[in-house]
């Protein structure tokens, strides 16, 4: 799990470096091409769209930072050999965007992420020396609607039939929706409330729907005429009451920041 963190950071660094490559190429290319050459080479495909995009489809890989502090997290990290970073989730998001204006998009998004780790009981082992082991997983589906505001126009219309995507478009946005979570622990547990410390095997589950709110900021980088590279950071607020397998806990805090890198296609 821990090794994923630097990998994501590396990917982000590469993504953030891309604009320089994208910007640099046309500039150097122009200086070396003559006007005549420019006009005689017929491209296989134009580097602009024949009209404004009417739909965007996005796909992002994402990394969700650990759960915010909550007593369930404190409990399991205290009882089991789990750490907060074990709940760094990986996932993906799919979104559909409908441009409202040159700067405003409405976005419907579906996000899935899952975190989990195997653990042992920190305090006890079996009488015969075996470790007492469990698996813990947290899965989230996030269904949201958002408004996304580009800080500069997303592209430039020239005439009726050409639309040129801007090389780099920073954006911010916000929205809300529904979040479904599934928190599950499977394996052996020590009944520490029993003086005899019996071990039981079980699957403890808490799941359900809750509402969420989110804000985000990101940048779209033009790769081709209809392909954008997207890097984004997002913060989601959500909490949900724990299920009956988890008694006496405060609502689980499902809030947390996430970073995502992906692509966006313009149609």
């Amino acid at each position: 799990m821990g090794s994923n963190v630097p990998r994501v950071v590396c990917v982000c660094l590469v993504v953030l470096a891309m604009p320089w490559r994208v910007w640099a190429e046309p500039a150097s290319g122009n200086s070396s091409r003559t006007e005549a050459e420019t006009e005689r080479i017929q491209p296989a495909e134009p580097d602009f769209l024949f009209g404004k995009p009417r739909l965007t489809i996005g796909l992002r890989g994402l990394s969700v930072n650990p759960l915010a502090d909550s007593d369930i997290l404190s409990f399991i990290t205290k009882q089991l050999t789990l750490e907060k970073k074990d709940f760094r989730a990986k996932g993906f998001a799919f979104d559909l965007g409908l441009p409202v204006s040159s700067r405003l998009n409405t976005i419907a998004a579906l996000e899935y992420n899952r975190a989990g780790a195997s653990s042992e009981d920190r305090s006890f082992i079996e009488a015969d020396g075996f470790l007492i082991q469990q698996d813990t997983h947290l899965t989230r589906f996030n269904l949201t609607g958002s408004l996304e505001l580009a800080l500069i126009p997303r592209g430039r219309s020239i005439g009726q039939f050409t639309w040129i995507a801007a090389p780099v478009v920073p954006y911010v946005g916000g929205g809300g929706g529904l979040l479904w979570y599934h928190f599950e622990q499977t394996g052996d547990f020590v009944d520490s409330l029993d003086p005899e410390l019996p071990i039981f095997s079980d699957q403890l589950i808490s799941e359900g729907w809750t509402t969420n709110a989110q804000v985000f900021a990101g940048v779209d980088i033009k790769m081709t005429r209809r392909l954008l590279l997207t890097a984004e950071t997002r913060y989601v607020w959500a909490n949900a009451t724990m299920g009956m397998d988890f008694v006496g806990f405060e609502p689980i805090d499902l809030s947390g920041p996430r970073i995502a890198v992906g692509i966006r296609l313009l149609f």
Binding site: P43, E126, T186, D188, S201
Partner: protein
């Protein structure tokens, strides 16, 4: 262009004769491609068509437009047989020259393009109590034997686009030109000049044309020459930043990506057509014989319209007295919309149409987990969920479903 001048300079040197060379020094060699005689393309069609008809021989060799060098400019004559209809002297010096003609007063100006291959003409004329008439046009060769003349007429609420295409006359026809029209520049030089001049316009040419003349003329230029340019986003931004009319840009895009778009232009009836060709066509029209005729055949903004009425916009001979013109009329409504909107597809001369168109296991909420195969010194749950097991902040609780195993504190 440099090659062209070198060619001409070499020709001057090699031709010998100091007196003749002295005479040629005053000639603006940019006129060389136009020197000679030309016939209106549609009349040429009529000539072929009437060959099968009887009694139409009079149409043969009906008119010629001849261009001869005259000082730093040219003299252009339009003649019908031996009858001279029009004679004009044109100097392309970028200076306004006053015009006094019958009841009309005004000015005209001719400018060369930067490469000397295209001639821009502009004029403004006030005739009697008619609205001021503004002409803006462009002449170019699109092939060594084809001369295109495009003029846009703005007369108050009327707008008209005139596209004339001339072909260089055959040798035997040229032999019939007036005897005093001997050219100081040889035919081979003229042919070479025409070859060098007849280039498909590039983006720079189109941008230049857009600065010199109206968007409708540039549209016609594009329709007649059909350049297929490499239009990428940089080029488009350059065109837009230069203030090029969006209708012109749309047309450029459509011509550059014909697999995506269909381009149509207005014909003289106002209908949209993708076919080329304007003018009379091969049909009988009474204005063929009216005062319009000299104007119809004469390029480069000939200004004569007749003195008493405007033959284009009200023709008493035409059915119902309606608007009649061999050229393309752009209605006042269309024109005003053009002015208001800058460019509206289909409101000008052309219109562009797009072509159509982990789970390790499945468990119920109260299902029994199954896990096996753990190696090493560990062992995990092997029994099903019996119910009542919970976790609380105080710890896990197994209710009554223990496994029988016991835990001991770690050492």
């Amino acid at each position: 262009m440099r090659i062209y001048f070198l060619t001409c300079a070499a020709a001057v040197i090699l031709s010998g004769g100091s007196a003749q060379a002295g005479q040629r020094e005053s000639i603006d060699l940019r006129w060389a491609p136009w020197l000679g005689c030309w016939q209106l393309w549609e009349e040429e069609l009529d000539t072929f068509a009437s060959a099968d008809d009887t009694g139409q021989g009079a149409l043969l060799e009906r008119t010629l437009v001849c261009v001869e060098p005259a000082g730093s400019g040219i003299t252009m004559t339009a003649s019908e047989g031996k009858r001279q209809l029009v004679e004009r002297r044109i100097v392309a010096d970028g200076v306004r020259h006053g015009v006094v003609d019958s009841n009309c007063r005004g000015w005209e100006r001719s400018d060369w393009s930067r490469d000397g291959h295209r001639l821009y003409t502009t004029s403004e004329l006030q005739c009697s109590d008619l609205p001021t008439r503004r002409l803006s046009g462009l002449s170019l060769l699109d092939s060594p034997s084809s001369w295109i003349d495009i003029q846009f007429v703005d007369m108050g609420e009327h707008h008209q686009l005139e596209v004339r295409r001339y072909t260089a006359v055959q040798a035997e026809t040229e032999a019939s030109k007036p005897a005093d029209s001997a050219l100081e520049i040889g035919q081979s030089e003229i042919r070479q000049a025409r070859r060098e001049s007849a280039e498909v316009p590039n983006l720079a040419d189109i941008m230049e044309a857009s600065r010199h003349t109206t968007p409708r003329v540039v549209e016609a230029l594009l329709m007649e020459t059909e350049p297929r340019l490499h239009l990428d986003s940089h080029a488009l931004v350059g065109l837009d930043d230069a203030g090029i009319d969006h209708g012109v840009i749309d047309l450029l895009v459509a011509l550059s990506y014909p697999e995506q778009f269909v381009v149509e232009h207005r014909d003289r009836s106002g209908a949209w057509s993708s076919r080329s060709g304007n003018g009379f066509g091969r049909f009988y029209d009474p204005i063929w014989y009216s005062d319009l005729y000299p104007y119809y055949i004469t390029p480069m903004g000939y200004r004569y319209w007749g003195s008493s009425y405007n033959p284009y916009f009200y023709n008493p001979y035409f059915y119902g007295g309606a608007v009649a013109s061999p050229f393309v009329i752009i209605s006042e409504r269309s024109a005003s919309q053009l002015d208001a909107a800058g460019a509206v597809n289909g409101r000008g001369y052309t219109r562009v149409l797009p072509r159509a168109t982990e789970d390790r296991r499945a468990v119920g909420r109260r299902g029994a987990p199954s896990d096996s195969g753990r190696g090493g010194s560990t062992r995990t749950g092997s029994s099903g969920r019996a119910g009542g097991n919970t976790a609380s902040p105080r710890g896990y609780s197994g209710g009554r479903s223990g496994t029988g195993r016991r835990a001991v504190p770690r050492q």
